[in-house]
């Protein structure tokens, strides 16, 4: 078998990695290259791209729709991330405490159903629910003095509503992540805290939260990157409206390319978002590394 190691044997590993490498180079690396290059051009897909330097990027700053989309993207993120994180941590603590009981198990499986469901289905069903014709929903929101049929149609509440549906849809995902973090905390810590006379609330803040920190960092960053890229839900809930009130960068970039035919400009928009996401990813890496070295 040693003599097989010449010639063909040396090439074998490259044959194994060739298919996926080809796929990723063509579709991912290729896309990034095309996007960066054509971000500097005026390009409408039909005719040849024309090099315009940083024209697209300087135009962005004076494009009020872009500024609005950027603002909406960040607002949506700031809306989703804290709510998602706090709620899913509380729910995880509660569900982990009740994990051995029948209803606890049931709740644990049910909360994951929205996660596996397609965002298109979630969007269409919630739009139906919020159309103001369903008495149960009417009554429920009526308790808070809210008219459900106006939630998606009103520029003031459209983005918030999209954010709430997103939090609802992804809750189970974060609950799984935080639950596994919680289950990894050794019981001895809690016993020691109990001996010191800490009550449950004290335990949560002095034992659970600090030990859960690495998981929280992970969860927060996942939530940040996911919320920055939200498209499917918005497309199916509001289509970006009313009056661009729920248009985020991905939605704006999509409509610039496929409705307005400004592909070069659209790619400049997504390049900006890419840089933002890249910065977030670097920050996450640094924080997780620091966290790991502390332990």
């Amino acid at each position: 078998m040693e003599n097989k190691k010449g010639g063909a044997g040396k090439l074998a590993p490259y044959c194994y990695i060739a298919p996926i490498t080809l796929i990723l180079v063509t579709f991912v690396i290729g896309s990034v290259a095309v996007s960066v290059a054509l971000g500097f051009t005026k390009y409408n897909i039909m005719t040849e791209p024309v090099f315009r330097g940083i024209d697209n990027y300087s135009k962005l700053m004076s494009d009020s729709k872009f500024v609005k989309a950027l603002k909406n993207t960040l607002e949506l993120m700031l809306l989703i991330v804290p709510l998602q994180t706090v709620l899913s941590i509380i729910l995880s603590v509660f569900l982990v405490a009740n994990r051995k009981r029948f209803l606890g198990k049931l709740a644990n499986s049910m909360i994951f159903i929205p996660v596996i469901c397609s965002p298109a289905v979630v969007g269409v069903v919630w739009r139906e629910l919020l159309n103001g014709k369903f008495p149960v929903i009417e009554k429920f929101f009526g308790l808070f003095g809210i008219e459900p049929s106006m939630l998606l149609g009103d520029a003031k509440t459209a983005l918030i509503t999209v954010g709430m549906v997103a939090v609802w849809k992804w809750m189970g995902y974060y609950v799984v992540i935080y639950s596994s973090g919680l289950l990894g905390i050794s019981n001895t810590y809690y016993e020691a805290a109990k001996v010191d006379g800490a009550d449950r609330i004290r335990c949560f803040f002095s034992v659970t939260l600090p030990l859960l920190k690495p998981t929280i960092i992970l969860g927060v960053f996942l939530s940040v990157t996911n919320s920055l890229q939200c498209f499917d839900l918005i497309f199916n809930l509001t289509g970006g409206g009313p009056n661009n009130a729920s248009t985020t960068l991905v939605v704006y970039s999509y409509s610039k390319c496929f409705s307005a035919g400004a592909a070069g400009y659209a790619m400049a928009i997504s390049n900006i978002l890419f840089v933002v996401i890249l910065a977030v990813a670097m920050l996450q890496r640094n924080m997780m590394r620091r966290e790991a070295s502390e332990i």
Binding site: K4, I23, I113, R127, F274
Partner: protein, 273 residues
């Protein structure tokens, strides 16, 4: 007194748990119920048995191309899973168990592509696909599905395969490929299953890419069909909900049978850390 207190506490947690269950699933129950309502009395919210019918499901299958949408969704998801598992486990095997020049560097290079979010590259991906002449084809929907993440997972799993087993097979005269099929793959079944679930759900629910890559009606997938219906049949709630149910069922049925695997598979991308 302790007992009463404990009983009381249990009642409270039960109520909260029921609350969580209701909030998690009532939109889906609404979806199911409405899909059995005929168009005329959809909003009377009378769910007695004689008012429910399968009429909407009969109607939706008469819709032009509907069977085609189902076929497209199933075909793309299944082929996507097969392709992903094939290319990712092959590469994972090479990266984990073979010495070749550039092993670490190429792996790192591939892993770096994971930071590129799929939503951000949709337009250039569209241009590349268009350049290749692949718009409105299954190739366009299937080929971009495998990710470096799959390689990462498979490499991680194959690293744990004991070298002794592979050496034993080698002494028995097995070549690399035979070892891969006979020794390695059976030992990393659970990772393959997790990756399959992850890929299947991703492909099945995929929305933005098919929306961009497929303009022809006969190439559309179920989520696109559903999304189109909201404009086409604005008044026909029952029909839209029937379409939503058909969209919802496959991942849901898999989930019912493989809950823990599903959670593992779907949160894979989070666990990589």
């Amino acid at each position: 007194m302790e007992l009463v207190k404990k009983g009381f506490k249990n009642v409270i947690s039960d109520l909260v748990l029921i609350g969580i269950i209701v909030v998690s699933i009532f939109p889906f129950i609404y979806m199911f119920l409405m899909s059995f309502k005929s168009t005329i009395n959809a909003y009377d919210f009378d769910f007695s048995l004689e008012k429910l019918s399968l009429g909407q499901y009969e109607k939706i299958f008469q819709m032009e191309n509907f069977e085609r949408y189902i076929f497209n969704s199933v075909f793309v998801a299944v082929m996507g899973v097969i392709l992903t598992v094939a290319v990712c486990s092959l590469a994972g095997y090479a990266f984990a168990k073979m010495n070749f020049k550039g092993n670490d560097k190429i792996f790192l290079f591939l892993v770096m592509t994971m930071v590129v979010p799929s939503e951000v590259i949709v337009i250039p991906l569209f241009l590349i696909t268009k350049g290749l002449g692949w718009l409105n084809s299954y190739r366009a929907l299937i080929l971009p599905l495998p990710t470096a993440f799959g390689v990462f997972i498979m490499r991680q799993a194959i690293l744990d395969v004991p070298k002794d087993l592979m050496d034993a097979a080698r002494i028995d005269g097995c070549g690399n490929l035979k070892i891969f099929f006979k020794v390695v793959l059976p030992l990393v079944k659970s990772s393959i299953l997790a990756l399959s679930i992850f890929t299947f759900v991703g492909a099945w629910n995929n929305f933005l890419w098919p929306l961009v890559a497929c303009t022809k009606a006969e190439m559309k997938t179920l989520p696109l069909a559903l999304s189109m219906m909201k404009t086409q049949f604005n008044t026909d709630v029952g029909l839209t909900m029937a379409c939503a149910v058909i969209n919802f069922l496959p991942p849901f049925i898999f989930y019912v049978f493989m809950q823990s695997r599903f959670k593992e598979g779907m949160t894979l991308s989070g666990v990589k850390g």
